[in-house]
């Protein structure tokens, strides 16, 4: 073992933000405002990283003058939906209460939250329903938030991946990270941590075989936060329930809500009951409520289904394109242009990204951004929440983390030597191994196992067989993975994180002996009303400990 392979560096701070997406940047800005020393550690570059890296155009927001003064009605409404259904009432209320303040803040910083001088709500609702998503021009959001974070004094280190949190007798005291640009090992010491590493994208097969970075959201968001939190004893919830989404075929890209066209069958008949002409306000909301429609059309011999923007006026088309570009769809639209595809004349096929599953749940942070472990906060897609959730809870978590860090010694305690050496020795063995397996081999096998044994068909026997295969992969990965350089080391660590997440999914899926949403247990086809609860899991010495928890509705 060549321990000399890494240069080591120690950095002290009060609040460590792991991930520089919307949640991490908002947490950093707020924590710095609260007079904490703040460090953002980002795997990519904060200017473009994360699922909001190239922009967004919908921000869930409660505005009393638009939605009425009775917030409870909105809370109830929201809790009925897919996002709100797995959160306590107090969480939803806090989110709604704080959303408009964040909108005003963003607008004052230079992210255009208004369209032609006024707030405009559109998308993600059925015709006639109250619109709760604010249309905003988020293309520059990462640049603006980065500027704010730097202005408030936060320190940013790009190209750096945190792998594990470190502990002393008082609790969390830092993290161990690798800087892939400098090829350095970082020992970060802090008083509190905000995890904001986004969703989990490369765990299940991509929609295009052999092209695993063709994912709906950023393929570098792979659940690092969930994995390090779990290894630190933080509770995760709802990991067993997968979600699927739909969008354009074959270029995977999130963001259906901005498309204004009508979804039609090959004969031109609308497939949903809501619209029969393009509508910039609602789009075709059939996919908001019926993600399987494309699969069902294919199976019944009536497919495929097309997004038909024929009938949009020039002005309406420009309006739609404006939002699509702000949502980070530049490269998609440019590719249509390059291929001379005219979206008004050439309906584009949409489909369900049915292989591309991702867990609905994650780190169960509460309305204060707190996880179940003192000093560890989380925000954004560490559970769910989209941009608005990331912004609001990032802000709240940053404030909490700043407060908590003041109760700690400020990162001056002794190095937790054993934990540090264990991590360093893992990194060194990955780097020094010759003729080993590549991270890609391990990632592909992981995707196969997840798709085949914990996909949309699940049963006790399948899950048992799949878990056994996954554990064999885990062992092989630890024994044989090899990284030729720091970039590949980062990819190897990502795969090890995803393997841990896969293991939790198998275990939790075995535990939920019923069918719920896309957690389809063919051996338990019934949705049991008594299990309309959160399945919470925590790592203990004896293995995962599960707990069923009721939701406060």
């Amino acid at each position: 073992m060549r321990m000399g392979a890494f240069r080591e560096k120690r950095i002290d701070t009060d609040v460590l933000c792991v991930g520089g997406g919307i949640a991490g940047l908002m947490a950093a800005i707020r924590a710095a405002e609260c007079h904490a020393r703040v460090l953002i550690v980002e795997k990519g570059n904060v200017l473009y990283s994360g699922s909001g890296g190239l922009g967004n155009d919908h921000f869930m927001c409660y505005m009393p003058e638009v939605h009425g003064n009775d917030i409870e009605l909105q809370v109830m409404e929201f809790q009925r939906g897919q996002q709100g259904g797995i959160r306590d009432r107090s969480f939803i209320r806090r989110w709604l209460e704080r959303s408009f303040d964040i909108v005003k803040l963003w607008d004052s910083w230079g992210i255009p939250m208004k369209y032609e001088g006024k707030y405009e709500f559109a998308g993600h609702a059925l015709p006639g329903e109250l619109l709760t998503h604010l249309h905003y021009a988020g293309k520059n959001q990462k640049k603006v938030l980065t500027e704010q974070a730097l202005k408030k004094g936060a320190q940013i280190i790009n190209r750096t991946m945190c792998h594990n949190l470190l502990y002393d007798e008082e609790g969390v005291c830092g993290a161990i990270a690798i800087n892939t640009k400098e090829d350095e090992l970082l020992e970060i010491r802090c008083g509190s941590v905000v995890l904001g590493t986004g969703s989990v994208m490369r765990l299940y097969p991509a929609s295009t075989p052999g092209w695993m970075f063709n994912t709906r959201l950023s393929p570098t968001c792979v659940g690092d936060g969930r994995a390090m939190a779990y290894r630190s004893g933080v509770e995760l919830a709802s990991m067993e329930i997968p979600l699927i989404r739909c969008g354009p075929k074959y270029f995977s890209r999130a963001g259906k809500a901005t498309w204004a066209g009508v979804l039609r069958d090959p004969a031109g008949k609308p497939v949903g009951p809501f619209v029969d002409r393009p509508d910039n306000k609602y789009g075709d909301p059939v996919v908001d409520v019926y993600q399987d429609i494309f699969i069902d059309y294919k199976k019944s011999g009536k497919g495929p289904v097309y997004m038909d923007c024929g009938g949009l006026s020039d002005e309406e088309l420009q309006y739609m394109l404006h939002w699509l570009r702000n949502e980070g769809n530049e490269s998609f639209l440019d590719s249509l242009e390059a291929d001379r595809i005219d979206i008004r004349k050439n309906p584009i096929e949409f489909w369900t990204y049915e292989n591309e599953l991702f867990p609905r749940g994650g780190i169960y942070y509460n309305e204060d951004g707190k996880t179940s472990v003192e000093g560890i906060y989380a925000a954004g897609d560490e559970f769910f929440g989209g941009i608005s959730g990331a912004a609001v809870f990032g802000w709240i978590a940053g404030e909490g983390a700043a407060g908590y860090s003041k109760t700690r010694g400020g990162g001056e305690s002794k190095r937790p030597t054993t934990q540090f050496e264990e991590n360093a020795s893992l990194f060194t063995s990955l780097r020094n191994r010759e003729n080993g397996a590549t991270w890609k081999e391990a990632n592909i096998l992981l995707q196969q196992i997840m798709g085949d044994y914990a996909g949309l068909i699940r049963s006790e026997t399948l899950l048992n067989a799949g878990l056994a295969a996954l554990l064999r992969l885990k062992e092989k990965a630890h024994e044989t993975l090899a990284a030729r350089n720091p970039h590949e080391l980062m990819r190897c660590l990502e795969v090890l994180n995803m393997i841990d997440i896969g293991e939790i999914i198998f275990q939790a899926a075995r535990e939920r002996k019923e069918t719920r949403g896309k957690h389809i247990r063919v051996d338990y086809p019934f949705t049991n009303p008594l299990l309309d609860k959160l399945l919470v899991v925590k790592k203990t010495e004896g293995g995962p400990a599960f707990q069923w928890r009721s939701l406060k509705r």
Binding site: G44, N45, L47, Y48, S49, G50, G53, L54, N158, R159, T180, T208, P209, G210, W211, M212, F213, N214, T215, S218, P219, T220, P248, K249, Y250, F251, S252, P266, P304, Y306, G328, E330, S331, F332, D334, S335, L336, A338, D339, I341, K345, N346, P347, I348, E349, N485, H487
Partner: protein, 72 residues
């Protein structure tokens, strides 16, 4: 493969190398024309194109598996 750089247009400023979320240009040398070391890790997000101060020096080539399917 995904990002395509025109060597005669590129000013070698390294902005694309700096910002790429997937670090597909890993290992590119400072002051040189960036190399696409890990093309299949590209998300086609456009960060490199957006960050390039010299329009036209870098563009994305969308690989065939991502071909958009359309009618007509």
């Amino acid at each position: 493969m995904p990002p395509v750089i025109l060597p005669e247009e590129c000013k070698r400023c390294g902005q694309c190398v700096e910002v790429c979320p997937s670090d597909v240009f890993f290992g590119s040398l400072k002051g040189g024309i960036p190399e696409v070391t890990y093309p299949d890790e590209c998300w086609h997000c456009n960060a490199c194109v957006d960050a390039c101060p010299h329009k036209g020096a870098i563009r994305l080539r969308i690989p065939l598996p991502l071909m958009v399917i359309y009618k007509g």
